[in-house]
Symmetry: C2
Subunit: 608 residues, 2 copies
């Protein structure tokens, strides 16, 4: 088995403008509501521009207003926020008549259940690549193999029951002219597993050796190969459900904690999307491709009269690239782009309360469109919680000299430091400690794409961010701190999967802000060829000094499978931190109020 490299690229757009106030009435970054998605659907289906049927919706999402309008709306850079609502628009990608259609839709009333909408632009996309699969692509394709005689025969030959076999759509990647073009049809591959309820671990029991090619628009199998009939692994030891694996359990069990907050929750969520916590405020959105979207994150500078300073304009996971790097005929094309092919938001797992997130979490829903354009409620897909792991944000301990055990030292201290000892004296020694707990705010989504579960956290620390001017004359900014290994792609530069994801050869990219450069692997990532990705855009060599920039960072893991990853692998983490660097005049945590009854400036003695 080859090893898999998993790279997640994050889009982080930053500006540095002092803001005044924010109006939160129907925020322009709010994701489309169920009513808005319905109105969009009606507008597209009613449009005479695309009469062909069936028409399937592959992407429906917010077409965000232009950045200057958002800044003006929110009152950034001006003395007050405007009260005018911005135009509310959606962007739609649909397939009909074997073509990819792009629509821009204007929605008349943002918050009304009777919202109406109309198409304001339409285009046919004729370049390489396809939009994300719809959920229905998966579900409908699953039904094909059981009715396909060669597959039924392959299954029979392996001594299996076709009723116990389930199949899934696997993106085919892109391998240039080395593979059939299928006349430009939207094709994928189908691979199957034994799925007989003997184990929950369906991925441990592949029907290895069989690969089908499916035309997803015609929803028909158009290619078939049964190369070799491998024995299907046994179910023994593969199930991971508690009632199947134990007892005996490893014991005694680690005792789980429950976080309670005697002083109550420290954050609130306004209008369903705007979070205020400690010295931070930000907007949480949802997109069927990107998943969680963090916007307009600003930090308050108490030392600067309580001014708000913006740190992030918009940030989200732009792509998750997972080349398996196994040359076998059934594995080489496993070169997934999970966001652009399957959709992180559409694949978000409903969070298990008190398990995926702690007891003090608040949960948010998302809405996306199904293949027919109807809204799907994705329940509990985002949780927000204050995280307290028992760590310390900052501390300092002062003892005069060292802890002492005799009176000689004590009298020496008195001799040397009479004023100090008079004021803060305790027994033989003079000591005090000042400690602040590390409490952070986490915005979490868990995305399950096939056999991988991604826990994607945005964690806010009270330590803050970017600024335009600071007084000492240092270069102001923030620094990027990798917190975990980064994975350099090991693919050759001219390998097809690497050409599609050529940006993974560098961990950090900076580009000038451009609203259309949002998806690192291109708008049409499925079967993309690398002609519309970050590395390509960067060849234009645009100026990035003294302009509004976007930071792209690749978090990566080389997943070399170990025995311990079976049947379900333990969590592995990669992360990075953006940390202010000479933005604040001093540690912004100094003005963080210590919790009630917090034992600071305590004075303790040690004796022999």
């Amino acid at each position: 088995m080859g090893h898999r490299v998993l790279t997640i690229v994050l889009f982080v757009s930053t500006v540095a403008i002092t803001m005044a106030a924010i109006s939160l009435n129907a925020h322009p970054f709010d994701p489309l509501s169920a009513e808005e998605i319905t109105a969009v659907r009606i507008a597209v289906l009613a449009s005479p521009l695309v009469p062909a049927r069936p028409l399937y919706f592959h992407y429906v999402g917010l077409d965000e207003p232009d950045k200057p309008d958002i800044l003006s709306y929110a009152g950034y850079g001006t003395s007050s926020a405007t009260t005018t609502n911005l135009p509310r628009r959606a962007f739609v990608i649909a397939r009909a008549d074997g073509q990819t259609h792009e629509f821009t839709i204007e929605i008349a009333t943002a918050t009304n259940a009777n919202a109406s909408a109309s198409v304001i632009s339409h285009a046919v996309y004729r370049g390489p690549g396809f939009p994300m699969f719809t959920p229905n692509d998966q579900i409908s394709a699953m039904a094909l193999p059981a009715k396909y005689p060669p597959f039924v025969e392959s299954v029979r030959r392996r001594g299996l029951d076709v009723a116990n076999v389930g199949c899934g759509v696997i993106s085919r990647g892109w391998f240039g002219s080395s593979e059939p073009a299928y006349g430009g049809a939207r094709v994928a591959k189908l691979q199957c597993v034994v799925f007989d309820n003997a184990t929950a671990n369906i991925y441990a029991r592949p029907v290895e050796g069989v690969v089908m090619v499916v035309d997803l628009d015609r929803m028909a199998i158009i290619g078939y190969r049964d190369r070799a009939a491998y024995v299907v692994p046994k179910t023994e030891g593969t199930d991971y459900r508690a009632e199947r694996v134990g007892p005996p359990f490893t014991g005694p069990a680690a005792a789980p904690g429950v976080v309670v907050q005697p002083e109550g929750s420290g954050f609130r969520i306004e209008d369903g999307h705007f979070v205020r916590w400690a010295n931070w405020e930000f907007h949480v959105g949802f997109d069927m491709r990107a998943g969680t979207v963090i916007s307009l994150a600003s930090v308050n500078d108490t030392d600067d009269g309580g001014s708000w300073r913006r740190v992030l304009y918009r940030s989200f996971v732009s792509e998750v690239f997972v080349p398996y790097m196994d040359p076998e005929e059934e594995w080489y094309f496993h070169t997934f782009m999970d966001a652009g092919e399957y959709g992180l938001g559409a694949s978000a797992s409903p969070l298990q309360r008190d398990a995926d997130c702690p007891a003090n979490a608040v949960y948010l829903d998302g809405y996306y469109a199904d293949y027919d354009g109807n809204p799907v409620k994705a329940t509990d897909v985002i949780c927000v919680f204050e995280r307290y792991a028992g760590d310390v944000a900052w501390r300092h301990y002062n003892g005069i000299g060292e802890p002492v055990g005799d009176e000689t030292a004590s009298s020496l201290l008195s001799l040397l430091l009479p004023k100090y000892v008079d004021n803060v004296s305790c027994g033989f020694s003079v000591q005090f400690a000042e400690v602040r707990p590390e409490v952070t705010l986490v915005v979490r989504m868990v995305v399950t794409v096939g056999n991988y579960d991604y826990t994607l956290d945005w964690e806010f620390k009270t330590v803050g961010s970017i600024k335009t001017v600071t007084k000492i004359g240092n270069q102001v900014g923030y620094r990027l701190i990798p917190a975990g290994a980064t994975a350099m792609s090991l693919l050759a530069d001219d390998d097809y999967p690497q050409r599609r994801a050529s940006y993974t050869k560098k961990q950090v990219w900076v580009t000038p802000y451009n609203k259309s450069e949002k998806w690192v692997s291109g708008l049409y990532a499925e079967q993309s060829t690398g002609d519309d990705n970050l590395a390509t855009w960067s060849k234009r060599n645009r100026r990035i000094k003294d302009v509004d920039i976007v930071l792209w960072y690749t978090v990566g893991l080389h997943h070399v499978p170990y025995q311990e990853d079976f049947p379900v692998m333990p969590t592995m983490s990669g992360a990075f931190e953006l940390r202010p660097s000479n933005f604040f005049e001093r540690n912004p945590l100094i003005r963080t109020k210590p919790p009630g009854n917090y034992p600071n400036c305590s004075c303790s003695a040690r004796s022999g």
Copy 2:
């Protein structure tokens, strides 16, 4: 100001032997008790081998039994533990008559308040370097400047009151023949700060420009230079104590969590030192130089019939090297070796309950010897707690197809997977998630050396460690995962500070186990010359394949000071993980019992 590089080297000794049982009666790795330290003191002072007085104790610690004896005692590799107690010995370094003396002491009764002891070996050390400072070196030296007329005059010239000035002993490092040898005397430097109770932040107000040389054995100032009278910085904005900085506080405050454990604590500490938790057991010791010492950590393999497998024989922080890399006359010699010069255990800060450690922590004390050999109780210097940060140890979500919103998909599922749907059906879709919380066990010490506070955590995960045999035929072992940046030393190879800490040019070293190779910077780190450090030992090029090995890992941070680090810097972290690699046959967490009422295998539906 130059930047500081901070490297922490950890000693990790591993073996891989299946153990049978452990007798915990007076464990041979228990640190010396107060009674034992007293007995050791009496034995040294009563010995005719060193009649010279005064005699000061620089190090008193456990002289651990040889490894084969420990293994035999603990029953590793045999069918049962022995019941014979091993000889109990102490190692002492003392200064008398201007010489460094080493003693080995045998203690007659380990657990008796009337323990007696006798010297069984004595040697005079005549090589380069000196033992750790005693606490009294600091305290006594502090008293010297106020009685030293040139210093009193320097202070007066700066418009300061000598009663408001405090001084500290700064190790002088080693700079070869470029500096005076002072006839081989044990000298250090003295530097001072204004200490007038106007601010707790004494390090922000140095009496810059003045450096004194002190002979610590004679306890006299033997060198003095006042190069330039800088203005002492103002106190404004320097204090970090809550009552001095606020209000206004940054608000609303982040709400701290309190971890409660409804199912009780998951660990217990036997005989004060032996910790049992989940699938782990290990011994926690204390040493005045190393601080926390973890020994005999073993993991239980439930899948292998509940056998115990040893992972770490002994592990501790061997050195903390902090070269400031500032060429100024008052700063160039700041090339601290905090463990070898000041002692991590002796500098351990009393942990602030519910602040340095969460509410569910258990606290341990330590004992070390003061300069006169008397035991000093270091209260609450180690805490042990179960850490629950709201993270997930492993999870997997299975949905058949994707969440669906119509009956077509549901009927397709029924058609395809009748057995499965019969068993686990819920509405339109079939989904379940299995999640286990990440609960870890942390052993924490906070060490304050001057202006730096080090939080040193050993964190145990239920995910496990090394093994001798496994069945698949993979290469067994564990892997080292850096979890955070490592700091490569930027000093030139022939720079004196780098020669002392030449091992910092590589992040990972492996040596064959040798009981005497314990301190990475040498037994006598103070003014050491690099002739007895890890890099030197490694030049012997000993075999490391198929032998008992020691892993040395350097965690490092380049601390480039930013405005935000003032007046107290926010916590920065560096870490590494040792993770089993084909040791277990499968994920050992699979057999971790889920918490009561844990929502696994839940079945939920999404509808449109």
